[in-house]
């Protein structure tokens, strides 16, 4: 390709994005219209369509605060990025036909599977934030300890049953039972911690509450990690698999007996964990929307004083939210203990990712956490699977998600589903 054309293609998007980001908000301001969302629309519109999108935006100044606009512009931006990528890397496995559609779809599927798992951890974090207004820095350790609760429950129960001759020697208790137990124990641990250490903050006994919340959750995280290390040791553990099947093949599209799209592979244990995650998230959404306790939680998250007037105990709801968030973290750990080698420090990385997911989805939003998790999963998967230098694709995996995180903070600081305070 002509280097000038290529150079223009590479430069045009960012250049128009900068122009759009500066001019479009000014235009809305000059016309006395609401500015919210106009920077993002200008940047995305400039990047995706250059003058062809910026000119109509300039003249018509439509309402760009709805998500359809953002979605459409983002999709156009992604398409343009893909086009530039395809032109500059024609041999890349994500571009070269005929295999590219299957490969990219497989990577998206990989990303969606792990994304749901990311989302479960993040949902607990966002729930605590929305009700209590604090970021739980021990969230990763609740995730870690949930995995160990499940592992040791399964181990001890199996041994106990075998010793009593109730089951045969090769009996294996399915880790799904461990998820339930981990949920109960994590809920209890979260409840206890909140009552002992977080409650004084809301009772006005702590002078610098925000700093206190950071320090106490950080401290508790360290306590949990090192206590677990002292108790179970540093050796990696893994629970038995959910199923004996290792991978499931999904057929694609065939033409004259020859596969033209697909087949796709899903690792069976991840598939089970994903289903568990989806069930948990939808159960949580149902609980928050349909039950008295769920509505009370939402009420407290919106206005504590008003909720108190209607008979809701905000302090009790704070404790309940923290315990529920801890339970979700613990259950997500339990869902993953058959999938990853489990060590006491495993929570650190998942916690960082959960923060990214939560900010991406919008602090305090449960559907936002789900979408954030899916986006992070897909971006990481496609990013490392398609990166031009295969030797570095995996090493930069986390960087791809952090790139999206930085972009989101720049363009839409409240996240995808976040509301402005």
């Amino acid at each position: 390709m002509n280097p000038f054309v290529l150079g223009w293609l590479l430069l045009a998007g960012p250049l128009w994005a900068v122009i759009g980001g500066i001019l479009i908000p000014r235009r809305y301001r000059n016309r006395g219209l609401i500015e919210e969302g106009t920077t993002a629309a200008g940047v995305l519109g400039g990047f995706a369509g250059g003058p062809f999108l910026l000119v109509p935006l300039w003249y018509r100044t439509p309402n760009v605060r709805n998500r359809a606009w953002a979605g459409m512009l983002t999709a156009l931006g992604v398409l343009e990025l893909y086009a530039i990528f395809a032109i500059t890397n024609p041999e890349n496995v994500c571009v070269a036909l005929p295999f590219a559609p299957t490969y990219v779809s497989q990577q998206i599927l990989n990303g969606l599977t792990i994304g749901v798992i990311y989302a479960i951890t993040a949902v607990g974090l966002t729930l605590i934030y929305s009700v209590q207004g604090i970021v739980n820095f021990a969230h990763g350790q609740f995730y870690m300890i949930g995995g160990f609760f499940s592992y040791y429950f399964l181990l001890w129960t199996q041994n106990w049953l075998i010793e009593r001759g109730a089951v045969s020697e090769d009996f294996v208790l399915n880790p799904l039972f461990g998820i339930l137990i981990a949920g109960v124990l994590s809920f209890g641990l979260g409840w206890l911690f909140e009552r002992m250490f977080i409650r004084p903050m809301h009772s006005g006994k702590i002078e610098r509450a925000a700093e206190y919340a950071i320090l106490i959750t950080f401290g508790f995280g360290f306590f949990l990690e090192y206590t677990t290390l002292a108790m179970v040791g540093p050796f990696p553990q893994r629970a038995e698999a959910f199923t004996d099947v290792r991978r499931v093949s999904l057929s694609g599209i065939e033409l004259d007996g020859e596969a033209i799209y697909g087949p796709f592979t899903v690792l069976a244990d991840r598939g089970v964990a994903m289903i568990v995650g989806l069930v948990l998230i939808f159960f949580l959404l149902w609980f928050l929307q349909r039950t008295w306790a769920g509505r009370a939680l939402r009420a407290v998250s919106q206005d504590k004083d008003a909720a108190a007037v209607t008979g809701v105990n905000p302090l009790g709801m704070n404790t309940f939210a923290f315990a529920l968030g801890s339970m979700l973290a613990g259950m997500s750990g339990a869902a993953l203990v058959p999938i990853f080698a489990w060590v006491p420090w495993i929570g650190a990385e998942s916690a960082v990712r959960a923060y990214v997911v939560v900010v991406l989805g919008g602090l305090g939003s449960v559907p936002g956490a789900l979408f954030g998790g899916l986006i992070v999963g897909v971006v990481e998967s496609v990013g490392s699977g398609c990166f031009p230098d295969p030797s570095r694709g995996a090493a930069y995996k986390e960087a791809f998600a952090l790139g999206i995180f930085a972009l989101m903070l720049l363009l839409r600081p409240n996240g995808l589903f976040g509301q402005k305070e």
């Binding site: 496995v93 295999f99 490969y103 497989q106 990577q107 990989n110 990303g111 792990i114 290390l229 040791g233 540093p234 050796f235 990696p236 553990q237 893994r238 038995e240 698999a241 290792r246 991978r247 592979t265 690792l267 244990d269 991840r270 990853f340 080698a341 060590v343 006491p344 420090w345 495993i346 650190a348 990385e349 998942s350 990481e380 998967s381 496609v382 490392s384 699977g385 295969p390 030797s391 570095r392 694709g393 995996a394 090493a395 995996k397 986390e398």
Partner: protein, 434 residues
């Protein structure tokens, strides 16, 4: 007659007292008041290889206990108890440096041993050099550890760093030779993005390139859990003849298990060559489908164990219920090498004398006979015929390749497939049924 009987009684009494005295003296080594303090460095918390760190810590402490049971270190007819304090490197260069400084400034160590990660070895060696602390590294493999020691010797006239671990070139050579012997033509290397991983990859790539083998390398970050995207990328191409994993700790376990779950290796087409941590029993916990994977082990094969090795392995098995990895044996021996040098130097104050004694080391411990060929008295030849990394380097560390052939198999019972000198099963390599 009475006189004779009395003399006899006195004689018997004296003999009895002498024997009892000797026995009592043996039980009570009558140590000097102040012990000789040495320091150990191991990764005892994340992101370091904690499993290895715990094994190293136990081994170093066991070595000290065994030496003290044998009356410690004798200097000028006085027995000194040996004491060790362990610093946590966390697998990070700066944390390792802090640990080394604490050992020197707070604990007042006279010598140091241990270190697992190459990055920590390279970072801490300056601290030990600057403070004139004779040091015996037991695990960092990066060639540059001893190469930089040589540079220091050329600048200052003394190098305090010795290594009894193999260099990464030696380790890479053994595993590569096995794979070449298996006839591989293309290999994928998955390596950790650390000094150790990068160094190992450079050597692997060079050896494979010499043999005309195609190599694709993938770097991964330690601590990552999900490798399916990058493994799918390998799966998208033609299956390589072998996948070689140079990733330590639980990250390496995750790569191996996910690779097997995806059906990439081991198969009839692709050899699974995983990391040395496979020797730990946790391998089967974290990689339940890991049968037929091969791994290299630093350290001698069970057939070559001596009495000391047998005793150490028995004690280690009692503690960890597994065959000790090379780093455990090396950590145990590093204490022995250093203690032996202090005793021969006859001083703890004169670190240069200890370095000279280390250079003259000739002692047999659990991994065999230790000696340092290239030293200040026998420098490397100027013609470049000997690689620089052999400076202050033990020349005889064994590297063998073992392959599991049964699920849950003890590493000690698995067949040695390479090198031919150690092969236990006529060098037959096993592959899973199709």
């Amino acid at each position: 007659m009475k006189f004779t009987r009395a003399v006899l009684l006195v004689f018997i009494l004296m003999v009895t007292l002498s024997i009892s005295g000797a026995v009592l003296a043996q039980d009570d080594c009558s140590f000097a008041e102040e012990p000789i303090m040495i320091g150990g460095i191991a990764p005892l918390s994340a992101p370091g290889a904690v499993t290895a760190g715990v094994a190293m810590q136990w081994s170093m402490e066991q070595a000290v206990a065994d030496l003290n049971a044998d009356c410690g270190i004798a200097i000028d007819g006085q027995n000194y108890e040996l004491a060790i304090t362990i610093g946590d490197s966390e697998g990070l260069p700066d944390a390792g440096q802090r640990a080394a400084e604490r050992l020197i400034e707070v604990e007042g160590i006279v010598g140091a041993v241990g270190v697992y990660h190459s990055a920590v070895g390279l970072a801490t060696m300056d601290v030990f050099q600057d403070n004139a602390i004779p040091t015996v590294y037991s695990e960092p493999w990066n060639d540059n550890v001893t190469i930089e020691g040589l540079t220091r010797f050329e600048e200052d006239g003394i190098d305090y760093i010795f290594r009894i671990a193999p260099t990464s070139t030696v380790v890479a050579r053994a595993a590569v030779d096995w794979l070449l012997n298996e006839g591989v033509e293309d290999v994928v290397i998955i390596a950790e993005n650390t000094d150790y991983g990068i160094g190992a990859v450079e050597q692997n790539e060079a050896f494979f390139a010499d043999a005309g083998v195609e190599v694709e390398t993938i770097f991964v970050e330690l601590g990552t859990e999900d490798f399916v995207p990058i493994l799918s990328r390998i799966q998208a191409g033609d299956p390589p003849d072998a996948i070689r994993i140079e990733v330590t700790g639980e990250t390496g376990f995750n790569v191996t298990q996910q690779m097997i779950e995806l059906g990439i290796a081991p198969t009839e087409d692709t050899i699974c060559n995983t990391m040395q941590d496979a020797i730990q029993p946790e391998y089967w916990e974290a990689v339940p489908d890991g049968n037929f994977c091969a791994f290299y082990k630093v350290g001698i094969a069970p057939a070559n164990y001596n009495e000391q090795t047998e005793a150490f392995v028995a004690a280690y098995r009692e503690e960890f219920d597994s065959e000790p990895a090379g780093y455990a044996m090396a950590s145990y021996d590093a204490v022995g090498v250093l203690a032996d040098a202090i005793e021969r130097a006859g001083t703890v104050e004169d670190s240069e004398a200890i370095v000279l004694a280390l250079e003259e080391t000739d002692i047999t411990l659990t991994q065999g006979r230790y000696f340092f060929e290239y030293t200040s008295t026998n420098p490397l030849p100027d013609d470049g015929s000997v690689p620089e990394y052999l400076w202050h380097q033990w020349l005889d560390p064994a590297v063998i390749v073992i392959q599991f052939t049964e699920e849950g198999q003890d590493a000690g019972a698995a067949p040695v497939v390479w090198p031919p000198a150690y092969q236990t099963d006529e060098g037959v390599s096993y592959f899973p049924p199709n």
